[in-house]
């Protein structure tokens, strides 16, 4: 079988990080304690950040670590801490739902995998610029200025919304 893979350094790095990411994801699904899940996912996020570096997306990798590992995971852990989780792992399983979900996901993966394998990707016409953090900055403030501003509005709204939602209802008149 010809897998068309060059055993380069990049490949080994990719392989290592991919295994980490998948392992983290699968463990996250399998852990029964929520905190373990959250931590294991954080591991996956870090692995993904490594992959971004491999893909010459240093800025994205940085944001990934900052945002996901730093913000989202911590947010989730706060969420975990604010709710009770005594009953976890004790509910009866839902075999039908889980079987069907497994079948559905596997089929989806099968379809995606088949599509990826059978697609022919043309070779990139050019390489990305070496130092692209600066270029991203330029782009964000020129071509993507309006979306950038909109995202900031979104973040603000989300922030306010989150506060409003999480506020205790008793405090309302």
């Amino acid at each position: 079988m010809d897998w068309n893979i060059d055993f380069t350094g990049e490949f080994f790095a990719f392989f290592l990080l991919a295994v980490c990411a998948i392992a983290g994801a699968v463990l996250a699904i399998n852990f029964t304690k929520v905190v373990h899940t959250a931590l294991s996912l954080a591991f996956t996020f870090v692995s993904l950040a490594g992959l971004y570096i491999l893909l010459q997306a240093e800025f994205v990798a940085f944001v990934q670590v900052l945002l996901y590992v730093g913000a989202v995971t911590i947010l989730m852990i706060f969420g975990i801490m604010m709710t009770k989780h005594q009953s976890e792992g004790r509910e009866p399983g839902r075999p039908l739902l889980e079987t069907l979900a497994a079948i559905g996901c596997l089929c989806l993966f099968g379809i995606l995998f088949y599509a990826i394998r059978s697609a022919s990707f043309p070779a990139p016409e050019a390489a990305l610029p070496e130092d692209n953090v600066a270029s991203i900055g330029m782009l964000l403030y020129s071509a993507y200025a309006i979306p950038f501003e909109l995202v900031s509005v979104l973040l603000t709204v989300a922030f306010i919304g989150a506060v409003a939602l999480a506020k205790r209802e008793e405090e309302q008149p």
Binding site: T44, L51, L55, A57, M82, H85, A101, F121, E125, A162
Partner: protein, 102 residues
């Protein structure tokens, strides 16, 4: 064949694992986390295409940045909603969140 296929396959694996989590996990927090995983899988695709696509450009990376931002906002709102719900129902079990069917 470049590495693109491998990245896409990895993304597909992560996406499907996340999807499975979304569909089967009872704990609402894990569901939210699984959604984050799925979003990450998509980001991986974007970044991979940004390098190995037919016309490499930074658009993919920028797009993934926006996506991450939206994901962060989503996580914040999601946790807030969850806490509000928890306060009302005293559980994070999604089985109990069946107001849609009533």
């Amino acid at each position: 064949m470049s590495m693109l296929g491998s990245y896409l396959t990895l993304a597909a694996v992560l996406f499907c694992v996340g999807l499975f989590g979304v569909l089967t996990k009872r704990n609402a927090i894990i569901v939210l986390l699984s959604i984050e995983l799925m979003l990450n899988a998509v980001n991986l695709n974007l970044v991979a295409f940004s390098k190995y696509g037919a016309q490499p450009s930074l658009a993919g990376q920028i797009f993934s940045l926006f996506s991450m931002t939206v994901a962060a906002a989503e996580a914040a709102v999601g946790i807030a909603v969850l806490i509000a719900l928890y306060r009302r129902k005293a559980t994070v079990n999604v089985d109990e969140y069946d107001e849609l069917g009533r």
